[in-house]
Symmetry: C2
Subunit: 229 residues, 2 copies
């Protein structure tokens, strides 16, 4: 490799920061940690880490997500880069933000304790370090845009879920109620759900049918054309 022509240029610390969304009860929440090192040690923060030598940025984001959740193959997408000169009080750091969606039922609670991580409803986010509030806000916007045309909401639910539950999720994301008749009709018409022959008991006496996401059908459809919500 010939590095000669690049040698005199300024090198910068590059971090990845992850906005991790989960769906608990009726609330969309974000997973935050108590920062474990200076500066701003002990304050609430997004989970992040520096990009290492020989490590791609997506790889770095995956590593960071794995560190905190113990999960592999999390749904994850790059948001954008944040690079104001003084965004980090301890020096020049460019942060590449990722947002991730996880199914809250299967992740490692042990790791959560180690990192002093906590789920916060989006309406009750505490003060965050640096520009992390801004990253979180942008992630929320992007999630809405993305969910409107792409079936990624399912990433926030277990493989089997009921329609009322799916509706609660969309209501949490958009912070607005939907009409259950219209919602069901729309969802069924998209042809991306399989109705199972099994009911969920417990949240109602009648019981609601379970559905699963049919990704095969989705792939056959012209992506991004149909509006989901």
């Amino acid at each position: 490799m010939d590095l000669s022509s690049y040698n005199n240029h300024y090198r910068i610390l590059v971090a990845v920061d992850c906005i991790i969304f989960g769906f608990y009860g009726t609330q969309l929440k974000a997973l935050l940690i108590k920062r474990g090192f200076e500066p701003e040690k002990g304050k609430w923060s997004l989970m992040g880490g520096f990009v290492r030598e020989g490590e791609g940025i997506d790889e770095a984001a995956n590593r960071v997500l794995h560190q905190l959740t113990g999960m592999k193959s999390i749904y994850m997408e790059q948001l954008c880069a944040f690079g104001d000169v003084n965004r980090d009080s301890a020096g020049r750091v460019i942060s590449i933000a990722y947002f991730a969606l996880i199914n809250s039922t299967d992740y490692n609670k042990q790791l959560q304790l180690e990192h002093e991580a906590k789920w916060f409803p989006l309406s009750e986010i505490p003060e965050l370090i640096f520009d992390h509030q801004k990253l979180l806000l942008k992630a929320k916007e992007r999630l809405r845009e993305k969910v409107a045309c792409n079936p990624i909401g399912f990433e926030l639910l277990p493989p089997k879920f009921t329609l009322p539950r799916l509706q609660l999720l969309y209501e949490a994301i958009y912070e607005t109620p939907f009409d259950p008749r219209n919602f069901n009709k729309k969802m069924r018409s998209l042809g991306i759900l399989n109705k199972l022959n099994e009911k969920e008991r417990g949240s109602s006496k009648k019981g609601a049918y379970y559905y699963e996401f049919n990704s095969q059908n989705y792939k056959n459809v012209d992506k991004g054309i149909k509006k989901i919500v």
Copy 2:
């Protein structure tokens, strides 16, 4: 500033690369340059530059755009970061991509010569260095998504333009013809155009009325709700 806790981390070269779109005749084009330094000197490339000390990333993109076009206050938006380990053959470089829209009538041709820059129709892009082809593709996608709901197409036109010309622009972006009756109706109904009392002569005998973009009206509308195309 206390840098102690960050000191042992790996620092990386960060570049910004700009995908610059322009509208010429009936074609959407991208501005490419002949790369002026090694590696890959003399090959076609996006215009880019390294992020400097004390310079924010948006600032860096503006600087790069100014260098090539001589224009200030160009419409510009961050696309995303590209950070695969071996994307640059000469070492680890993370690139933050920006796409820019410029009105082709008022930019500096002199600078174009100095950089050996050339406008290429999107259907005739030559081989590009590194992953620049990928950046360009992604920019094209993003432009379509963005233009569908935001009136940024006007950035590609002079302040005064005719409806047939605007239609040609949209047709170029979406690579598909529109019905002129429906297109006009839709555009007029959005209430973001001012019809001027002046006609463009030359492209037809009857002449077409000039319009200008009314950004004031646009700001009063609930953004991002209305679909433009």
